[in-house]
Symmetry: C2
Subunit: 158 residues, 2 copies
């Protein structure tokens, strides 16, 4: 078992996210050269994991991006009927699916990864904070025409 570097983790995360967005949400997600954090009201979906490596992955996007994701996941043409809870559900489910795809990649290097349940937070200028000796990666991405961020906090088992 070899430990992965933060760069390797973030590559696995973006690959995992691409798989999910292309095959299950039918939107494109690409690394963006623009590292400017999207400001204003955002929605952040996170999910934590423990085991041979522990941490948290997150996806942070604008409410309009989250609404498009929810509409695509539910096959709706008219996104205006979506409730706050349906939009939050969709962001939590994206975090869950990306975690699944990321976990599949982690398992080539680690034996045990236990995934918890997603949680979803709304607010302005959202940012995950480093705790507990974790390493952090923030990957600016474009989800179709929306600027968003993938986030990753990891810490190897001590």
């Amino acid at each position: 078992m070899t430990s992965s570097t933060t760069l390797e983790f973030s590559e696995m995360l973006i690959e995992g996210a691409k798989e999910v967005f292309e095959t299950m949400i039918f939107m494109s997600i690409e690394k963006s050269p623009d590292a400017t954090a999207p400001l204003g009201d955002n929605i952040l979906g996170t999910i934590t994991f423990t085991g041979d490596v522990q941490g948290c992955i997150g996806i942070c996007c604008s409410k309009s991006c989250a609404t498009s994701i929810a509409a695509n996941m539910m096959g709706l043409d008219n996104a205006s009927e979506l409730s706050q809870e349906e939009i939050a559900d969709a962001v939590g489910e994206v975090a869950n699916m990306v975690m699944g795809s990321f976990k599949a990649r982690l398992l080539s290097n680690y034996n045990t990864i236990n995934v918890s349940i997603p949680s979803v937070v709304s607010g302005a200028n959202l940012d995950t904070m480093l705790i507990d000796g974790q390493n952090r990666a923030v990957v600016p991405v474009m989800i179709d025409e929306h600027q968003a961020r993938l986030m990753l906090l990891t810490k190897a088992k001590s």
Copy 2:
């Protein structure tokens, strides 16, 4: 095994939080009649759990409240030397300890509760969003002179 109501869960959460704040952080925490959410820049520590009941607990407070908590936990007189990471660590650790105390109370009604690791988010107007058929309780509290909120999302095992 009888399921608890959202009101019972929130009572267990405030009791668990009191135990932690009084015995380990040496600050008081009391339910506040003022349900006004603290605005401005906040820090939110959350921790998720799965098992016979699943969900998330959170503690949301101002940066100055989080700084006081960190200084008390570390036994510092001068909080001005604390780094962002030390403050975030303290909020994550509070979420972890309150979860432990809440879990001890849950175990009188439920057999299996698996706790994940905390995550900490900064931002303005932070709020947890309901997902996945969860029930939600928000308990406004005063931590010494600081207005703060305890949050709870729960869902019984289906």
